[in-house]
Symmetry: C3
Subunit: 448 residues, 3 copies
């Protein structure tokens, strides 16, 4: 089985990386500044890492979060001390690979060698070959999608596209949550800014038109998808008058809790309608209780490691949207989940009927070897291989991108190898499938 897996893996090991959804900042690539130091690169901005160190009792400000004055070397020491916590975790696998493959350090992080590894990585980061664009080439990234505010100028993307010396594609992604969800603290401000940015738009109709206009702007600048981070995947079609009344109540700061729920569901439906029109692939990421611990949120803001998943139901929630757009021509809808139970129960059956629906790759906490294998086992028997999204790294940790794709390719190879060994698919067909999964699927699903 391992031998079959190795043979399959060798077919895709060196293929270019296609990353159709992630959180790297385009400006970092464009400006091509050296990364400041090991902690600022590998620890502080990665909430997968800081959260686990935090469990051992280290306050987040000692890891550089918030208005912290913690020195970079000090943070690195904390990280090295906490390294044993990472055994068996996805982050542990990635960091070990980054150490070895990006920085050429073969030993693992350890408190005894913290200064050495800090200095070694610092020295590398100062080299020209470790600038973002050089790493980009080194990592063999062909396509990288970023995640962007609807009013972003996308100037960095334009500059990169115009740069003849930079061959890869860095694509923006339209992410309108803070303009759709009335409950978002910036919603009112954002809506006024949006209406102000698109000449002639006013009221609810203008709001929809302005969103469509900004989507058009993104499409022009290469966007292929619109991403939606929602509490639940509820969808709903309100009539215009009703939607308009809620919109105005919300602008006046008078929306009720029910208004918020209903309007978010309605706007998710509207985004599907616009995707059918403008062709942007629609991706939905529900089911995370954001900022679970108020005191931590107040001190450090969002993305501090305490977004906690909860049970999700897609079947009923997504139905109003699929009624009207589920079989719409060229509409692509990628559904993600942090609740593994929906893979076999809901997502595989939905993707096994609706031509628009694709099962999103195992995401976030599920982006790890065992969880990936559970995912394939859960969806394949119902939906086959053609209905999943291809790997999504979803990362803001730039240097972890190769490790993540590498892990995914190994696991897909291992899964196929098992089916070959069990005489469930032929080895020849497995070789076609691994290519399709790693390379063709993301291109096809994300219209690249």
């Amino acid at each position: 089985m391992r031998q079959i897996a190795r043979s399959l893996f060798s077919r895709v090991e060196n293929l270019p990386i296609i990353s159709p959804h992630g959180h790297v900042d385009a400006a970092v690539i464009e400006q091509n500044l050296a990364f400041p130091d090991p902690a600022a690169l590998l620890v502080t901005p990665d909430h997968y890492v800081t959260r686990l160190i935090h469990t051992s009792g280290v306050p987040l400000d000692q890891l550089g979060l918030g208005s912290s004055a913690a020195g970079s070397r000090r943070i690195w020491h904390e990280f090295c001390k906490a390294w044993p916590l990472f055994e068996g975790t996805a982050s542990g696998y990635w960091i070990r690979q980054e150490f070895e493959h990006v920085f050429g350090i073969r030993e693992e992080p350890a408190v005894e060698t913290a200064d050495q590894t800090y200095d070694a990585i610092s020295a590398k980061l100062a080299e020209p070959g470790f600038r973002p664009r050089e790493l980009f080439k080194e990592f063999n990234i062909e396509v990288l999608a970023t995640t962007d505010d609807p009013l972003d100028s996308l100037d960095s993307h334009a500059a990169l596209a115009a740069d003849g010396a930079f061959a890869a594609r860095v694509l923006p992604t339209f992410r309108p949550d803070a303009y759709l969800n009335i409950g978002h603290p910036q919603w009112q401000t954002n809506v006024e800014r949006l209406l102000g940015a698109v000449p002639g738009s006013s009221g609810y109709a203008g709001y929809l038109a302005a969103l469509a206009e900004r989507r058009r702007y993104f499409v022009e600048r290469g966007a292929v998808s619109a991403d939606h981070g929602v509490h639940t995947p509820a969808t709903l079609k309100l009539d215009d008058a009703e939607a308009g009344r809620i919109f105005e109540r919300a602008r006046a700061g008078k929306a009720s809790a029910e208004d918020r729920e209903v309007f978010e569901a309605h706007m998710l439906y509207q985004m599907a309608r616009m995707s059918v029109e403008d062709g942007l692939v629609m991706t939905i990421h529900p089911g995370s209780y954001r900022n679970h611990h108020d005191p931590t949120f107040e001190a450090f803001g969002p993305d501090a490691g305490h977004d906690i998943p909860f049970a999700v139901n897609y079947t009923e929630a997504i139905r109003p949207l699929l009624q009207d757009f589920g079989t719409a021509k060229d509409f692509h809808l990628v559904l993600f989940t942090l609740d593994e139970t929906v893979f076999s129960r809901e997502l595989a059956p939905l993707a096994g009927f609706y031509p628009s629906v694709y099962v999103g790759a195992p995401w976030w906490f599920l982006d790890a070897p065992d969880a990936m294998l559970r995912f394939r086992s859960a969806v394949t028997e119902t939906a086959g291989f053609s209905r999943s999204s291809g790997f999504i790294d979803d990362t803001r940790a730039f240097c972890s991108i190769p490790a993540r794709h590498d892990t995914s390719r190994r696991i897909e190879s291992a899964f196929l190898a098992r089916l070959v060994a069990e005489h469930r698919i032929s080895e020849e067909r497995a070789h076609e499938l691994i290519l399709d999964i790693v390379d063709s699927s993301p291109r096809r699903v994300f219209k690249l």
Copy 2:
């Protein structure tokens, strides 16, 4: 491990097929007409197959559904073209086996050989040996239960039973959903027909009596079970007066949504009561959102591949029924689920206490190798092997029956082989268990 599995499998490979729940039409067996053509046999009527082809953008009417004029050969071409979608799916495994074992075709479906395979299968279907009764014998089916309307005359069953040349048992199953669920579009019509069919019955009491009378009719004609397809497994005991009032509101077309819910739960309870009295094994199939996509339902009717599972809770829902009948003598209640989470959490503990409760075999989307192994792993440590139903093929695709039972027997052998290899059961005991699982369990649970 594989060697142990092979040895276990060899014990049961050639045992007769016991199929206590499925959807083959008794008239097909009785009339023994030749199957018309490959598409009408293997594609159009199998919503497992058409749904996956549909995901690739082929409209269902091009697959023969509805009032389609699509030619059989054209449909077969679509199927062959879509064949790669089936890699790794349960349907893919079955069809490959049918090709080889039923039709002697060793190559897989492929667009290049579509005409050849079409012609080859057509030729076989014209042979006398490929008539339903001859295949029935060839497949070594000892018992086949059908699923029937409560007012069905069961004439085909009677004719088969009376036919000395046909040795197998074809048993009817009482399936009263459309007479119990007020929300069913035919409920009013059905109830009037039911009351009309049973002389002297009127009102709610007459309705119950008429249902009991039809059950008696089924029992007389060999039925061993009554099957219930419900949205949720909610059960409830209303008093007669209250139930009667809802019944009359519903007959007058004035039932509320709450009436519908309460009455369906009450009637599920009543069906259990009748099962205790007349001995019909009660099977419950909940948790599927039927006809998820309205436009498809309007065009093609039910069973078109868009029934989508959702989360189910048995523990509280089934409690009113189990309070009164859970320990009733000789009552058998088989609980199915499409929501795998209830296997370890609810069904195994329920079946591990109540003498009446059996865990239904993994059903529908879960009727596939990995899902079957997850099922055994989830229930065995709590409930052992004696509390599950035995394999249920639940199919309307007659030619897939041997492949499905074959898969199940292989997987049960593989599961037992793992336990032997891990020194958790003895090999000797595994040989007894495989016989019990494949042969004795379904006979015992379904009172055959």
Copy 3:
């Protein structure tokens, strides 16, 4: 892989048993009386065993439950007859080990040898070496926690602690459910007894003070944890006035269903507050529908094998508690579940951020080889190894303790061996981890 597993297992096979949560009665150890007979030791008091025999149609009174007159030898015969039902179950594995390792009987229970095994075990039980204290030493138990009523005198614990000849620690555990949950049949009586037992306490404030006082009493006598068996893990902070009003309504027998729910959630919050103050580790066991079958409960009381799990949601429910105490210094909160879906979805993410939260070991129905492996697979990639509780046997079946810990040690070794074989951790590190999991974790988490 097996070779690596064996090597890891050999490291921990003979380590002393740490059992920080269970249901053995301290008086049994203190009084050190001979166990009466095989059925009274291995069958009647173990609801894991009686429930499975019950499924085969044997009434519970024939197994010694309730005011049964069933003779011990007769019960033993029923058990031996039912033995095949236990193949593949957790109880089956334990009993086989107990037969062999505790009583030196190598054959399995069988109806043909029922008298022989009954006599052989009876003879052993009469020997001095089979008294509880001798077995305690034989089993190499270093710490055993019991579960105790808040008003228990803990005299047996004190006597054992004072006994110089008894080296092990037998620790009480504070279990206040019947004093917190208004819905408990004894709540009113218990509250009056509690207020009576602590001089000067009255009203709601006195009730809280009395609970704190009893906790202090437990801490003084060696308790390290407080255990909470709740329907759901809902938590809530009421203001004192509101809590006091509900408390008085409940004392007067006038609490509503909503009062009960709200007050239980509030008291779970209060218990966390007290744990932060007095240092008792807080353990929560939710999600079991207790006494599912009323007629069985009425005849035989609680713990008769019909507690049935249901779906649990921790993320929202536990949030009010974690808001205020999730990062409190030295607070330890161990969250158990019978609903496996929360392992990867909720518990691992919670334990992967909050320094206070630990994932409880797979419990009750999940305390078996496959379920344990699913647990490790579900939590490790998100939370690593440091955030789980260590093994908990949770048993009232004293003689099964070594078998349970042995099983757990084997399974942990097998899981680590797989990660080593997949090059995910080093063999050296696996040897450290197995020691940590088996020995250091429970000491650290339970502050031993």
